[in-house]
Symmetry: D2
Subunit: 343 residues, 4 copies
């Protein structure tokens, strides 16, 4: 036995659990992520600046990552998820690549751009929700006027933690379309009717674009006939037509309408959530911190934080797009809701 057994076991690759216990088994989830809000008005000028200062040849993708102040290394927006704001100018194209991380875009402003996903050109309009599931080839092109900007959502922090990240560049800059433009949307976006000559391939939704017009239609149809969720208002999930479940296996993507004057119940669960304001003004209180939000802002609600939404307007809806890692936690048997009442 050496003089110091702790040094001895260290040399053998072992360590005393009893000196680590509390850190490894905390009473409740501990995250470095903090509640945070990214103001679109403040970031937009820099988006435009970099659009001029940096070519897409140099950047491959021209994106401002929204980095949680507590999650800088590696950068993430909340623990398992990422948000960024991407800009592309008329005439530009972005190199075709694919990665095992799942991605989507939620369009903020502009017209005339499209992304090509596994051979299908998918056109973008404000409010549209576009999918690029893991290992699907994708490139972007802009043939319209003025800058096009969108929110990018990815699960790369989770995929990287899971040691399952793969990435590949296509040999050509852009894919050659192999099916008619926007075909998947036309095939699947209608009253729950599913083409029977097609078959499910992979775990993700086959739909390239869930257009904003359908989302508006849904909110109008539902109207005020139902109370909705006391926490999240009229909250709808984008679903995979083959399963009825989330559009991709790791992320749940939803949109909420908060009625004029909506004042939500406080709630917490283990899922981490990123919110993007489609329209309206309000406050979300997260663990006692008030995040004041307006159009196109993005804000982070770390997992197991108590949050509570409020629509500040008494005459206008607020609409929030949001995504979380709830399906990943569910799949691993780790999702938990706090069912104690909050004071």
């Amino acid at each position: 036995m050496t003089a110091d057994p702790y040094e001895a076991i260290d040399a053998l690759g072992a360590a005393p659990l009893w000196r680590y216990y509390g850190n490894l088994f905390p009473p409740e989830p501990v995250t470095a992520a903090v509640p945070f809000l990214w103001r679109y008005d403040a970031l937009r000028p820099y988006m435009l600046h970099f659009a001029e200062a940096l070519s897409l040849q140099e950047a491959e993708r021209r994106v401002l990552m929204l980095v949680n102040p507590g999650l800088k290394e590696p950068p993430a927006t909340v623990d398992n998820l990422y948000a960024g704001i991407q800009i592309i100018l008329p005439g530009e194209t972005a190199q075709a690549h694919r990665h095992s991380a799942n991605a989507f875009r939620f369009i903020i402003e502009g017209e005339g751009a499209y992304t090509t996903v596994n051979g299908e050109r998918v056109h973008m309009h404000p409010g549209d929700f576009l999918l690029t599931p893991g290992w699907h080839w994708h490139d972007h092109s802009h043939e319209g006027q003025g800058p096009m900007m969108w929110l990018d959502g990815l699960d790369y922090p989770l995929v990287n933690k899971m040691e399952a990240a793969f990435f590949e560049l296509l040999g050509e800059r852009l894919q050659t379309p192999t099916v008619p433009d926007d075909q998947s949307q036309r095939l699947f976006i209608h009253g729950r009717l599913t083409p029977r000559w097609l078959h499910r391939i992979g775990a993700a939704s086959p739909i390239g674009n869930y257009p904003w017009a359908e989302t508006e239609k849904a909110f109008e149809a539902i109207g005020d006939s139902v109370p909705g969720s006391p926490v999240d208002g009229i909250v709808l999930e984008y679903t995979n037509p083959w399963t009825g479940g989330p559009v991709m296996p790791t992320m749940s993507c939803r949109i909420s309408r908060l009625r004029p004057g909506f004042s939500g119940q406080p709630f917490r669960h283990t899922a981490s959530t990123i919110f993007h304001v489609v329209r309206g003004h309000g406050i979300t209180r997260v663990n006692g911190v008030d995040l004041h939000w307006g159009p196109h802002d993005v804000f982070a609600v770390p997992g197991w934080s108590v949050y509570r939404h409020e629509n500040l307007a008494t005459d206008e809806d607020a609409v929030l797009f949001h995504y979380s890692d709830e399906p990943a936690q569910q799949a691993l048997g780790l999702y938990r809701v706090d069912d104690r009442p909050f004071r």
Copy 2:
């Protein structure tokens, strides 16, 4: 040992398998069902006749059953399924009841009637597809003008064979509505967005009505951008938003658009199918028998029959609504497709 051992075992409740073998284990499915077509124009006058001659108090439901000539006792349209045509007049109501058999209606003509399903009034329009899943209370009321007629589809032949038929009358003639009219359609019929404050209950779709307007929209959106199925054309399945699967566990309900001049490939599978012509004129050849169909006709394609559709018009679509017991056969591991080529 008695003189005749066959008599002796008969007295003990036993029988020699070797005298039954071929009947019990046929090389291929044997059905008494025959290909058959029910002409709407011929039946409609009798519908109107009975509407006058017979009150709904007497009839409970005023329905002409479409009985396959080979399946009279008990009556069925194909082996596991039933079709009937129901008529209700303005001012009439039909008694509330429920049964374990699953049912749906596909509306043929009329306006102003509704069915109330588990407390929700669901209004009917031509082409709408309405669900009454097993053990859901339902009653009908007509507050419009002129007769209202629809196709009833049920799986009672299957449910009865399975010895699982239950039936109950409500103590009152009509249910009292408990939710806003047509609520489920407004909640669920839009671009694959599912309310998250609701939870799946039971095996069936929660949607009361898949409206015709959505079906038309789907056909228009898909247009001629894809070939569809060589057998069934642009064939779409009505789906359960919670699962992406069939609307009820025993029946697959679909609608097909056959393009002008469509001439389908011959096909057969073990599922039995009932077709209803929404519009158009054509021929379906079933095991060599030509069924000539026009608007609102109904026809039966028994399981394991070779069938082949043809749209006779060169300038108009034909649209066929159809339902089969494929999900039941799938669930039991008994569904089979004939993958040999047909000449």
Copy 3:
């Protein structure tokens, strides 16, 4: 309008639902099946008689079907299921065939026979439970001494009702073995350890034989440490290792130990059940009819009958093997339990 509209619609293939209503929609399941018991001692001499009088070349299978007095045409034991007793003599072989009906054998007496299932010879011993899932080739050979007898269970009544019956003879009388004898049992029958280099194929269990020794071991291990089911005693289900569910998609196969003096609670459900007495003596009261059973007897409990088991011995266990169509009813959403108390 003809003189008699009822005749007119009949000519068109239609019938008035209102004249059929009560029969098609009974308040509770109606079956022609009756509670019935087949006494092994009475049947055994005839088994031996036919074993001498009839060659297997003539019979293909030498089986006495156990026909429910209420279900003679077509013959069945309960509504969806069949039981028969098969006998094979030393030196005999039974022709290889396959059918879409699922089958199993529960061995009653004899040693030295085997069945060959998809190329695997599976040897039989009293109490063993052998599977022949749908569309698996199977033939039988007897290389031992004395007659070999077993209970055959099949779902052909269900498969035939579903219009999904296929049957095929092999070109040769017997299959050539392609794997070592009894291989599947050795691969899968041990403490919940599953070979990982194999993959699930089809819906049925891959196990050829669930040997009696394991069943005895299970009863001994469980002993009297737990109360078990108040209805069925220590009731164990034979399971499919790939799913944890029933061994075949249409039949649930179980074995129950009723302790000395066991007097069960009355119960009913919509599944129909066939019981086979492995050992012991008792009474099962079915809808008020007392069935007195002893070793190797078989008895039928039709669906929705109230039944109640009693072990008449105060010093010996009774052991019942039983199978029902519960999984088929579950898969179709039709299974129902009577949860009202019985007096």
Copy 4:
């Protein structure tokens, strides 16, 4: 616009994706984990030392963590999993607690200890595999002679990354048993027979102990009748009887017999694996590093490493217990196998 737009966006919580791209989207998974082996003979004296030097009152659990040299902060054995060696002395008890991390024990040496899991005392013998699924109360007691040592396996690195770690101490030191000792093993460990009066609760297997005697029996039964996996030999998975799948949702636990002279094919997949040598001597080459192993050693194979097993003995089996995060990767759609041939 400020002088330096990069500083400006940093102040707003944003960062330029183009400066991070390659790190966030590597061509293949990148891990800090290294192939490593922990020698039992070297660690055992320190286990005994700490058993004397440190009371269980101080330590709560007396465990040497096996820390991968590349994964020290926080400590883990491979990316998502942990292994430790625990020791308890006669007369000792370890405090009852529960955590959302899933845990198991694989017993190395000693007799007479038991763990109490949700009220069931589960006794330990060398080679036994015991479960403590997430959020199950567990405490340990040793009533035998001599030290008791076992391998602890946990998914806390994954659970902590997922921000889903919860932990709770019981108010008492030990649980009061609520069911007979070792009941779950007696109920479930036998030839694929499942008690029908019980119901599935939660996502994990209900079995407290998969005893070594059953594992030996499995290897003997399978013998040399089948080739097994060219990579992992006769590899068996411990399964959940309710599902046929892995015993806990995040970890796949398996045991492999490598025949005398076995020389495996090289292989890689994205799952990270920890191996524990039950018996035998061999070499596993991991990404070109040779790990020479003997009885009770533990070694780490990081995800996406090429590994290849060799049993050095020509007259003795080697037996390896191993566990990986494959089910977690599968559940998230991230599992991938390298199907290119290795040279």
